[in-house]
Amino acid sequence: MGVEGIGASVVRKEDKRFITGKGRYVDDVKLVGMTHAHFVRSPHAHARVKSIDSAAAAQMPGVIAVLTGSELVADKIGNLICGWAITSKDGSPMKMGAWPAMAPETVRFVGQAVAVVIAETKNQARDAAEAVAVDYEELPVVADIKAAIAPGAVQLHPEAPGNVIYDWHIGDQGATDAAFKSAANVVSLDVVNNRLVPNAMEPRAAVADYDTAEEHYTLYTTSQNPHVARLVLSAFYNVAPEHKLRVIAPDVGGGFGSKIYIYPEEMVALWASKKVSRPVKWTGDRSEAFLTDAHGRDHLTHAEMAFDKDNKITGLRVKTHANLGAYMSLFSSSVPTYLYATLLSGQYNIPAIYAEVMTVYTNTTPVDAYRGAGRPEASYLLERMLETAARQLNVDPAELRRKNFITQFPHQTPVIMAYDVGDFNASLDSAMKAIDYAGFPARKAKAKSEGKLRGIGLSCYIEACGIAPSKAVGSLGAGVGLWESAEVRVNPVGTIEVLTGSHSHGQGHETVFAQLIAERLGISINQVQIVHGDTDKVQFGMGTYGSRSAAVGLTAILKAMEKVEAKAKKIAAHQLEASEGDIVIENGEFKVTGTDKSIVLPMVALAAYTAHNLPDGMEPGLKESAFYDPTNFTFPAGTYICELEVDPGTGKTSFVNFVAADDFGRLLNPMIVEGQVHGGLAQGIGQALLEHAVFDVNGQPVTASFMDYTMPRADDLPSFKLSHTTTLCPGNPLGVKGCGEAGAIGSSAAVINAITDAIGHNKLEMPATPDRVWHAIHG
């Protein structure tokens, strides 16, 4: 490892612009002649749009146009789609209701757009939007899962009888039933996985620019995957043809999944820029983010686990209802199915699993992938189940887990996933040591003497990253392939540009990806520029989500780099009159082994471009590209342990210690990896203690601002103690697994298990607010 190579905690190249205020986010983009959009949104959760009167608004100062859903229909703009097909138990396809970008007839959640005002200034657009008179006929509302599936519930979409989108299952029902019949003990548990709002700090935004002469569109947008946005906007929404659409995702202020999807507002801005023949900017405010960014989680689950007389798990039965909101967002269908139920084996050897998942429509904001996406729900369920079982079976929770750990790899679970490698005992040991697990009973007793209830909670998570072999996801219903692409360009002066289809919105790719090049060539990361987020520059890309950028995106760069190195070695050998097999690359030079002959990288590059003296038949230039499709998911895993105290007088919890022991395979930049873990832990702890997106029975959101929705703040959280154990991922040449979501996946169960340990029973749901905890203690 060089000082800037793989494994070094290099400070980030991108930081200078962020700490000096020179970051360039979408709302910072200003174009000549730019107009501003403001949307007219439904105040009702379910209503028929009887009429829209925009006459008064159209006369207001600065107003250029007021556009409605019927004009979208007239222009043959397509409905929003869900791109992952799920098939129900009975063989029928999922029931997708139509989702127009602006509702021409029916609104199904509070905040759904019905019209947009385009004006000279943002304030003028906002003022005029207030003057658009929409006449609604209110309809009955279903605001949660139970209401949606109740007999006689109002139907949201004619396509989905009973508001059911699909009723899906996985696993072997017969084998699972048999396991329960012969079980020595059965443990059952009901859990709620609370709905969350992603709340990336930068609200979504779009600047759309239509060039009337070239009939060409440019869209600056807050996207985790600009190429996917271009594909969907052209192929499915019919807004612009793909070769006439450039999508640029510049600096993006966090995503956490919420910026994967192509939303109505961005699509309308693009369409409107042609309607008014001027650039159109829309920047969402935080209220709009709460109303319209795809939410996360929202599951109700009943589960049972069967044990034999030796406390070995013999079966798991799960029934989950998931709320997908009013419409099916882009990847919503995959989250409670293939990203959730396939992880239900956890770190455990479970011979038989059967899971059923029913998804429903409700009059709420659409739900899709949010950091972890299905895997936090699986991990939370399993780890609460193991904790509950340990107490019911009267065994130590760590020992019950250890007894059931998978220890032989590869391991085929009963729910599709084939774990390639891992060492679950190692991470459990590391976490137990870090928190002094053995000393806990004494600490608990001491706390008790001081009037405090102390608890300790474990969570041994596993997740699947690096989504994934295109052939495999295709067979499961995915509408896209999930490879990644990269291009490595060595310039004639020897500097290097790497163009990647991954997108960095906080992950530090500009540094980590450059570290790989520095490592391979023995040069400084300052000679390397990482280019991403622009469909006119980067050949293609599937973007960043599911912790895939290192395992898939960086491997694509490595594959392109290997081609560059092979060609460069041929050129160097030719120049040095040596055999290609004798050329090694060290410290930015191509050397002939065993001699003092060498040629520096810039001279090799120059030779490639002058092309005066290349091997016979070789094309000029030094630039290669690669598409990389992985052979399997990767499987990060680890143990989190939380120790905390509950004040029985107030129900308030205070952290004593939080330790995380993760196995992410090879660490590319430990500083960045730890930062990813910290952020994930905060989101998981936020779910456990603070965050909850609440709708009342009328479908009105009651937590739609930072005044009402409790975001984790600095004094809500402890400092974290992290450690790492390592088993290298055999599925990619870098040995990396992925670290972006683990914290959010594993931490919520550790917190709740600690509180339930403290209060002595497990009747507690997230978020465990002081009010809920107090009532759990005092009844």
């Binding site: 400070v11 700090m201 202020g253 601002s705």
Partner: protein, 161 residues
């Protein structure tokens, strides 16, 4: 409409703005100082924090007119040429930022914290004082380390002056 005259990052500026214009919009839209960000609409997130006459203030809670005649410092105005402010350097060195969106407000708030507390900062104080700034990426762990690091760097710098 009103004419607002103020000093921003040491330079006298004036702008003709609607009376309802917030200071943050004056900075971003009229003066092109886009380092100051808007992350919410309820004065909760702190991404818009600037200094007005040396005090850390959320610029979304101040009308541009209220800042008339004052001296405003933004994230663009705290480095001395190529020399970063110690707080900026500490955020970089401690990996106190990821997506960078909350960062300008965090840095401006954090400088205010150090100014108010001098060298008498500990983790609990920093965490409490950062309550008005929301970060979704870092879990605050490295932000807290950065502020404590910067506090000692600023103390050293002050002692040297």
């Amino acid at each position: 409409m009103s004419t607002i005259k103020l000093t921003v990052n040491g330079k006298a500026v004036s702008a003709e703005v609607e009376d309802r214009t917030l200071l943050v919009n004056l900075l971003r839209d009229h003066l092109n100082l886009t380092g100051t960000h808007v992350g919410c609409d309820t004065s909760q997130c702190g991404a818009c924090t600037v200094h007005i006459d040396g005090q850390a203030v959320k610029s979304c809670t101040v009308l541009a007119g209220q800042a008339n005649g004052s001296s405003v410092t933004t994230i663009e105005g705290i480095a001395k040429g190529d020399e970063l402010h110690p707080m900026q350097a500490a955020f970089r060195d401690n990996h106190g930022l990821q997506c960078g969106f909350c960062t300008p407000g965090m840095i401006m708030s954090a400088i205010g914290i150090v100014h108010r507390h001098g060298g008498n900062l500990d983790e609990a104080t920093v965490r409490h004082e950062l309550e008005g700034n929301i970060c979704r990426c870092t879990g605050y762990h490295n932000i807290v380390r950065a502020v404590l690091d910067a506090a000692s760097r600023m103390k050293v710098a002050q002692a040297a002056e």
